[in-house]
C-alpha cells in the first residue's frame, strides 16, 4: 500500500515525507525494542513503533528502513523529525494503538517482513 494510504487508514499525519506519498509500504515490522529491530535483514521494511527516542532514526538509517510510523499518539521531538528529513525517511504519527495500526495496515495489504537474522538462522542458544 502507498504511504498516503497507510496514513489514511490509520488516521495518521505525515510529518516527514509529503513528497513521498506514493512510496510503497508492503512490509512492516512492529516493535518497541530496538535490539529486536536490529536483527532485521535487508528488505524494504517500514517500522511501526511507540518509541520516539533518537536511536529510532539512527537504527532506521543503519537498516535502511523505508518509513517510520509512530503509534499511541507519540509525537517525536523536532530533532528527530529534522534528522528524518535529512535522511529522507518518511515519518507518520497516529493516535491509534500498535494493535489497531497493525490491523489496519494488514487489512490494507501490508505484511510482516520476511527475513530476520534470528529466526532464519535459528536461535541456537
Amino acid at each position: 500500500m502507498k504511504l498516503q494510504d497507510v496514513a489514511k487508514a490509520i488516521d495518521g499525519d505525515i510529518l516527514v515525507g509529503q513528497d513521498q506519498l506514493d512510496l510503497m509500504v508492503d512490509r512492516a515490522f512492529a516493535a518497541d525494542l530496538l535490539s529486536d529491530v536490529l536483527a532485521l535483514t535487508e528488505e524494504r521494511t517500514a517500522l511501526v513503533t511507540g518509541m520516539t527516542n533518537p536511536q529510532v532514526m539512527r537504527v532506521a538509517e543503519i537498516l535502511n528502513i523505508i518509513a517510520v510510523i509512530f503509534v499511541r499518539g507519540k509525537t517525536p521531538p523536532d530533532s528527530l523529525l529534522e534528522y528524518a528529513r535529512r535522511l529522507h525517511i518518511p515519518v507518520v504519527t497516529t493516535r491509534k494503538t500498535m494493535f489497531e495500526t497493525c490491523g489496519l495496515m494488514y487489512a490494507g495489504g501490508a505484511r510482516a517482513c520476511r527475513s530476520k537474522a534470528v529466526s532464519d538462522m535459528g536461535v541456537d542458544a
Binding site: D36, A39, E42, P54, Q55, R58, L63, A125
Partner: protein, 148 residues
C-alpha cells in the same frame, strides 16, 4: 578511527554507529557490509551506554580483507560470557528497558553479523570485543554460519 562513547549517554546513542556506517560507505565499502558494520557498532555502542561503568571506545579499521571493529570498556566486566551471549538474556536496568533497550540481543546480534567474533572480559576490569567483517560479501550476509 576511534570513537569515544560515554556511559549513560542515551541521548547520543547510535550517533557513532550512524557515522561509522556513513564513513564506510564513503570509503567505498559495499552497502550491505557497511550495514552489518553499522549494526555491530550500534549494539556495541548501546552496550557501552547502558552497561559500562565508565564508557569505552569503538575503533574501526578498514583492512585489505576485513573491516575490523574493536570495542573496549573500563568496566564492569561480564561474569558469565556464555550467558550474556544468549538471546533474550538481559541485565538491563529499568531506565533502559523503559526506553526500549535491553532486549538481550546485543552480543548475539554482533556475533551474527560478524564473520569472526572474539570477546574477553574480566569482572572489575572491563570487556574487549573484536569483530571481523569480510569486505566481499556477495552473499549479503555473514559467510560463516555454523553455531560456534
Amino acid at each position: 578511527m576511534t570513537y569515544e562513547v560515554r556511559a549513560g549517554d542515551i541521548e547520543h546513542g547510535g550517533s557513532v554507529s550512524a557515522r561509522i556506517k556513513t564513513d564506510l560507505i564513503e570509503a567505498g565499502v559495499s552497502p550491505s557490509v557497511a550495514r552489518r558494520a553499522g549494526i555491530v557498532s550500534f549494539e556495541a555502542e548501546m552496550n557501552l551506554i547502558v552497561y559500562s561503568t565508565a564508557g569505552g571506545t569503538i575503533a574501526v579499521a578498514v583492512e585489505s580483507e576485513f573491516i575490523v571493529i574493536r570495542v573496549e570498556d573500563r568496566g564492569p566486566g561480564i561474569e558469565d560470557i556464555k550467558l550474556a551471549m544468549t538471546p533474550g538474556y538481559s541485565t538491563a536496568p529499568d531506565w533502559a528497558t523503559d526506553l526500549g533497550f535491553g532486549a538481550g540481543m546485543g552480543l548475539f546480534n554482533m556475533k551474527r553479523n560478524a564473520d569472526r567474533f572474539e570477546i574477553e572480559s574480566r569482572v572489575g576490569e572491563g570487556t574487549r570485543i573484536a569483530c571481523w567483517i569480510q569486505k566481499d560479501d556477495s552473499a549479503g550476509r555473514p559467510l560463516h554460519k555454523e553455531a560456534q
